[in-house]
Amino acid sequence: MRKEVRIAGFGGQGVILAGVILAQAAGAVEGREVAQTQSYGPEARGGAARCDVVISDQRILYPKVRRADVLLAMSGQALAKFGQGLDVVTGKVVVDSTLITEIPEGLPPLYRLPATRLAEEEFKNRIVANMVMLGALARVDDTVAFESLKRAVAENVAPKFRDLNLAAMDRGYQAVEGPGLDSAAGPGKGQRS
């Protein structure tokens, strides 16, 4: 089964690192086939950036995302650009509600969490908003197990930032709200079936 995840925002938010962690979790930790690609402008910060991850149990030929199953949107521009292509019934969108206040029509039901605000207020570091979003992904979708994401963080993030990133991920897992989510769920239960 092929699953396509798109993480989109602007340069400097760490959307590509988030996708890399997801790809490592699915590929290196869970041993599945992955293809992670990215799109970004010539500038290092500020331009549109997106990271796509295709996960499959079979060899991946076409490596690009055609129609994302899950979109993690970290800017209004990203939501406007990529939200419309999603399947309104089966698609899932997680939005950073700190940065996205206007929700366009025609989207699947939304999952929300104030990722950037949580990163700034609770972790004093805006840069971990990407990990907050990844934690939310593990909660709303069974693409990869939460434990796999944590292992991927431990293996791919510099040691001095490891605990910070893991805590941010836990926070995202807890804080996300949306259809069908049990608000009492604790971290670590998002196992892939």
Binding site: G27, A28, E33, A35
Partner: protein, 384 residues
Amino acid sequence: MSEDGRTVRIIQGNEATVEGAIAAGCRFFAGYPITPASEIAELMSRRLPRVGGTFLQMEDEIASINAVIGATWGGAKACTASSGPGISLMQEGVGYAAETETPCVIINVMRGGPSTGQPTLSSQQDVYQARYGGHGDFEIIALAPSSAQEAYDLTIKAFNLAEEFRVPVYVLSDEIVGHTRERVVMGGKLEVLERVAPSKDGYKPFAAGPDGLLRGMPAFNDGYRLLVEGQHHDERGIRAGDDIDKSATLVQRLNDKVRQNIDRIVDIERIDLDDAEVAIVCYGSTARPAMEAVQTARSKGIKAGALRLRAIWPFPDAVLSELADHTKTLIVPEMNIGKLVLEVQRTAGGRATVVGLPRLGGALHTPEEIESAIIDAVKGGKAQ
């Protein structure tokens, strides 16, 4: 993760290229960073010193290829990597490497051109540049990986071919292959051609065997009498640019040593070709949607197949000619204005219909777009 000494990692094609080069014995890299090839220089700068190698960031790309040529004659297996304008700037050095029969590897992570064009997007616009970029008559070898795994495998192969044929060998990667992170199995038992020092007894550095190839590769400071000369030269390396016969002999051999040994270079993958009426001729990253399109077409009962070229230069004329004899339509998807399709037309010689599927702008063909070309070809065939 390790089994049989092999390591499995999820890495970018560019990283796989570096690991392949080091596994093949590359111990010298000179380059100048440029998107989308920069990761190669970056990783080489970290990896090479740890294996006793040398990394040099040069002032530009012509200096880089020249440093690679110097390092090779100094005894090291060497490579450089660049893209777009950087590869253009190298061309004089590529010709010098061909003339002096210097084994070296040039990794071109293709991006959109001309000029600075599209730094962050992919293309296959440089396939003719690899073949015809330098002035004068000479042959090179070019390999085109489709995945991170092949970026590893074909980089090793590129080093081996460079040593065997004493030519510059291109790895024609592209932004998609270079930047896609996916599974790569590395290490284990690898075929690596070690450099052999020729006998010094009566040694003539440019005296070829009957197959036109030079035997072994000498190095400076090892006691050889070496003259490496960009003008045409005789078997001893002595300048002979004014000698009509010697010049003709040398240039003929520089071409023939690759052309006449093409059977040792051809590297193709045949996919469902046995009964195929429509065949996709593909290479590099466009081969991936092409192969998916073939799978989908087959699942609908359409007799489609694919011929994937892992070595695009020298062009495998005989393979294409044979394919044209057994196939009604050949479709050639490329991320350029339509280039290798001309080679396919030439070799098909009117015996099969050749359809180009060029794409500009930097986006990969979708499998659906290639599949609809297959369906059009099948319908067209029935209407005739």
